[in-house]
Symmetry: C2
């Protein structure tokens, strides 16, 4: 295993310390238990948005705390759910007379721990479950996984909360974004979790893993390594079959790198995906290309599409000021 680390035990703490120091103008880090909040106190009456999950997906979620987006993020150990005490302490720190909305990626550990925290909270609270990964069927036993679409839920609900939406409005909006969002990813290599010290899965030199999860879960099917056009068509077809956008539909197209994929390849994927949608009469209205929901050092990427309407577009465009997403 080749990594720039001092030790498996100290990595998260040292990395969070660096993150907090590098972005001390935007966020602050609580250490026991770990959570990140905005530096600036919000106005009373603003719904507090809290997300979290295993580390290793940075900038999700700590890099998305700030004005116009999250109020707090709870980082677990790598690919490990944060614990209920983190979520409760974060909620106590940022709740501001309008309740707490948990935004949770659909993984058993995350769901369970956010539920435990929610049950113990004294304040109003709601949860939005993100389930955008269409590589699993809709009726999969534990439901679909939450992947790169989570950022889109967080950005859009973040803008609404900033503009004064109530807790129930934020929850309904988050669920609407989730319903209108679909993602699928492809891996060229596995990632290597430091505590494990070896790749999460084996993959041949001429193989790719279609429908891979963001923790290196094996995907829908291993495929032979093929052209970018074939790979993108595969991803777009799966997303299209799920969202069924009509001609004239406006979309947000997000190409997300898993961590080790050069920007040139991500923009190539974006180009090919945009072309395919445009051929179907779908209008690519907004774009986001880069490493946002990563899987440590995995090579590969995912495509996410959100069906836009005027309200969602306006909320997407609203100002955001976080460590890793700004406009």
């Amino acid at each position: 295993m080749k990594k720039i680390i001092n030790g498996v035990e100290s990595l998260l703490e040292e990395s969070l310390n660096g993150f907090a120091k590098a972005h001390s103008d935007i966020i602050q880090l609580n250490r026991q238990p770990h959570f990140v909040t905005r530096k600036q106190q919000t106005k009373a009456g603003k719904v507090a948005l809290i997300s979290g999950g295993g580390s290793g997906h940075e900038p999700l979620h700590t890099g998305l705390v700030g004005s116009g987006m999250l109020d707090a993020a709870c980082p677990g150990q790598i690919f490990t759910s944060p614990t209920p005490d983190q979520m409760m302490a974060a909620a106590e720190a940022v709740e501001n007379e309008a309740g707490v909305l948990f935004i949770v990626k659909n993984y058993a550990g995350d769901v369970m721990n956010f539920e435990i925290a929610a049950e113990m909270l004294d304040c109003q609270h709601q949860t939005v479950l993100v389930t955008d990964d269409v590589s699993l069927p809709k009726d999969h036993s534990t439901g679909r996984r939450g992947v790169a679409g989570t950022l889109i839920v967080e950005k859009i609900v973040g803008a609404a909360a900033e503009a004064g939406a109530t807790l129930l409005e934020c929850k309904a909006l988050g669920e609407r974004v989730n319903d209108n969002t679909a993602s699928m990813g492809v891996a060229l290599t596995s990632c290597t979790v430091p505590a494990l010290g070896q790749p999460t899965f084996e993959i041949g030199d001429n193989e790719i893993e279609m429908g891979v999860g963001i923790h290196g879960e094996r995907g829908r099917e291993p495929m032979d390594l093929t052209s970018a056009s074939d790979i993108v068509e595969h991803l777009v077809t799966a997303i299209d079959a799920d969202l069924k956008p009509q001609a004239g539909q406006k979309i947000l197209l997000h190409v997300n790198g898993f961590g080790a994929t050069p920007a040139m390849e991500l923009y190539l994927v974006y180009e090919l995906a945009a072309e395919l949608w445009q051929q179907r009469g779908v209008e690519v209205e907004r774009s986001l290309v880069g490493n946002y929901t990563t899987s440590l050092d995995m090579a590969g990427c995912s495509i996410t599409v959100t069906l836009l309407d005027d309200e969602l577009t306006q909320l997407w465009d609203a100002p955001v000021h976080t460590a890793n997403l700004r406009w």
Copy 2:
């Protein structure tokens, strides 16, 4: 070679098309020859800043075109200098009655082609050569290489040009930033250039390459894989020996990922480097952590330090709006 591409020949064109489409609010792409300019025309009398170099380092330089930074960027093929016709066409497109400043990383091909272009330009022009890589001695035959410090030169001179600095003021400022900037990198893996189809250099499972260049040039010395603290101390010591910051000196600390290094590791490197400077009484006043000057899919990172004064800090803080750097 595992890459998401259609072919070696088409990669740059397809990728630039995607980049132009994804950021059509900020930049526009000229296709024959290739260069990227700002979408918005600048005010007459603003010095035009142009950079360029081989592709594969994204977001450098195309992702840094926009308000407060570059006026144009000329992308060559991967790790290959752009040609003089690109630079001349870019200069003609963006020159706006105040002359052109070329910002050039010190590589033989880049230097030669920018010189040829400069000789053929009708307008006023100057060049700043970036030579921040301290892994080579100062008296190295072709001079030191230009690496991640280039972004800092571009940002600071970009702010000055936006504020109305003259061509000679921009050149002098760029040279001052370069003189006060030092970088060194370390690679854990090689990158793989698509046209070559195999890693640029061999590196053992327990080896790292200290002082590596951003094209996968072998570095100062191969070393055994060691702790993050040892690696960072090595880099910081080399930079410190070059810049010799005194106690109380304010610095900009930039940790740059080469492409395949997880954000967690980059923030860990930042934390360790910041600690070492602070122990020496140096004040880390500004920070930048992320993938900015990449080497395709190389794992590793570089540390860059710029000695700040009030003027440089103010110019660093000035608003910037590009595809990949914004505040």
